[in-house]
Symmetry: C2
Subunit: 408 residues, 2 copies
């Protein structure tokens, strides 16, 4: 018998309890033992909940109950999640979380504590919602040296970009629809400014490359500057704009990592990923490209990933010590933004083609119907961020669009 405590009774928390009860029989068969939700921690009252006798408001009740084997943390954020998770692990309880912020900021430390206490810290649901990615990456691709990862990691922004592309809509209008449908929050900044995708690519990069990449080491751009005009130029160029979190092993041994709107060619397996769906492409040195696709968020998909982790945590009686990465205060293994190289799509006005060619050398011009007089758009050869910025300054004119071109 494994007793479980669920911290937080919001969307994912209530979904987790629902899935644990709905599929109790088949889950117990898979876990090889009974699974019982003993406590649900929430500061709010749920007098009408069918599980009302399980609610507690004081975390210490859970911490001090030696019967609790697995703690599920689905509160989100760092406080008080971090303290709850840390003390649970120190008390010899395994922890399952969907909290990407916690893993991105405290992952290395919490994994270390878990291993020192011979328990597990699992977080399949923290990236890609219901899409299996953490376990496949660390178990199934363990014979590969990971070369690169690129993902559509945020469903809200992918929905907005899909609306902009399909319906030729401006960013603000698409955001308003996403908010109306509940795909974007009232304060959408964590999604549209890229912070959510940043946390997820940090988790994937840390796992793939073995060293903790912290969010503040990652240059992060959201989609607020993407315009309908950029979308149109990129479609005519044979692809579409997606918000991509990507990390790439470089020849110099460093990791280039960034979150940015990017041009993705039509043939890419990431190009056809639309609406709120997510997809993660992993390139291994022996397996080549592998892509994982599905619903990146939502109550039940995320709860499904949490519960699958709970089943494994309940079964294990020791630490699964391969799920691990080193902490690293020194982030020198992360390539400086200015040195990261890729092609750029550039849209500007107030300069001539001759001037653009003089500064950027060989460029390829893009077209769109009814472009105003004086607007030019072109793609560059791969150049470093610094070189691109320097050349744009030298060129002058009014910069209206700058989208990186990625080859995934």
């Amino acid at each position: 018998m494994a007793k479980i405590a669920v911290l937080g009774h919001g969307v994912v928390g209530s979904g987790t309890v629902e899935v644990l009860l709905k599929s109790k029989q088949s889950l117990e068969k898979k876990a090889g033992q009974e699974l019982e939700v003993k406590y649900i921690l929430d500061l709010r009252d749920f007098p009408d909940s069918p599980y009302k006798d399980k609610f507690v408001k004081n975390f210490d009740v859970i911490l001090n109950d030696p019967e609790v084997k697995v703690v599920v943390e689905v509160i989100g954020g760092i406080n008080p999640s971090y303290e709850y998770v840390k003390s649970s692990l120190l008390a010899g309880k395994s922890v399952v979380t969907s909290n990407k912020e916690l893993v991105a900021v405290k992952g290395a430390e919490l994994l270390k504590i878990a291993h020192e206490n011979n328990v597990n810290f699992f977080f399949e649901a923290s990236v890609g919602g219901g899409i299996p990615i953490i376990r496949p990456l660390h178990q199934c691709l363990s014979a590969d040296k990971i070369i690169g990862i690129a993902g559509i990691l945020n469903g809200t922004t992918n929905y907005i970009l899909t609306k902009m592309i399909r319906d030729n809509m401006a960013f603000g209008d698409a955001l308003a629809i996403a908010q109306k449908l509940g795909y974007a929050e009232r304060d959408p900044s964590a999604d549209i400014e890229g912070a959510d995708a940043c946390r997820k690519i940090c988790i994937l990069a840390s796992l793939a490359f073995g060293k903790h990449v912290y969010p503040e080491s990652v240059h992060t751009e959201g989609i607020t500057k993407v315009t309908a005009e950029d979308v149109e130029y990129c479609e005519n160029f044979g692809g579409s704009i997606k918000l991509i979190g990507w990390a790439q092993r470089q020849d110099n041994g460093k990791i280039a990592i960034m979150v940015c709107p990017a041009f993705i060619r039509e043939e890419s397996q990431l190009a056809g990923v639309n609406d709120v769906f997510n997809a993660i492409l992993v390139c291994g040195d022996t397996t080549g490209d592998v892509v994982f696709y599905g619903k990146g968020a939502g109550k039940l998909p995320t709860a499904s990933a949490v519960v699958a982790d709970v089943v494994i945590a309940a079964k294990l009686n020791s630490s699964s010590n391969t799920l691990y990465w080193e902490d690293s205060e020194n982030q020198d293994f992360v390539e400086k933004k200015e040195n990261i190289v890729c092609g750029h799509y550039i849209r500007l006005s107030g300069v001539t083609k001759a001037q653009a060619e003089q500064v950027f050398g060989s460029v390829k011009y893009l077209v769109r119907a009814n472009a105003p007089e004086g607007e030019i758009a072109f793609t560059t050869e791969p150049i470093s961020e610094k070189e691109c910025a320097d050349k744009l300054e030298q060129l002058g004119g009014e910069l209206m669009g700058n989208i990186r071109i990625l080859d995934y």
Copy 2:
């Protein structure tokens, strides 16, 4: 220290040894111990091999060596693989295989023997080559009730269909190119007649639904009857033809399962899977659709999956008893072919539209440029196989194409 024996030194076998040696250090870190290839079994001589001192011709040397913890079976076929695998498991050695025929025909029995002997029988590489699918399906989606699975499971046929679609080529010409490029074998029947895809969907269905589905229970059609004309009609209808292995939980509790060329609409995540790539769509009741994409065959991708299994098998000291399905001589849980329901694309000549409508009721006509006089093509509403066959017989005329329409 875990000592390993590799049975077979063909494409996958030599790749497995290569990956084990190339990535020795990182694999040993993941396995938590040294990994050593002690034996390679092959009847042929490899006098110039760098591993020539490891070769043996007598399986008993391996079987009787208590130091061998993991046996890798990459010979293929049933004989002598089945005997080798069975006796290894009985001797307390874990087995890793890429042999889909063996798993599809003997999986339930071998899993049972593995669990009785507290060892493991792993086969990630048997489906989808380097694509993680077996472990994600049984671990990460364990909280889901699987509703359906549909996959492009054979790279050779997908390459041929891609050539037919892109270059408007006839089947025979596309097959000849595939053979020239080494994508199709000289005797391509196991691929083009669907037997290979059938074995793989049997393995996936057995794992997803918990009961062994045997290949002979599955109606299997290959792609030899698909014509350039069918391809053209289907493109105009907004999709493409793929060889799909699929299994679906029905309302009556039975499993509908089939391998057949199928119309897949453009928006499906399976539609953009081209050339030798594979993709597997899994639909779970809580997670929804999840898709796994990558190289479904090839020396190194397959070897990578084998080696990842070896690492886990080396680490475990007991049976991972959730990877399991029941044997079932009685295949009554598999829906009879005649009762399986789906829409059909039908192309025929010698009948009028009025006659077609009289027999099939509401149909939707398809068009292609330069269709000869008297040819008609249409799609039906979902009907059972029996109903479709009966109606075609009643209608008469010359049937030239009949492709099932799947909604994945």
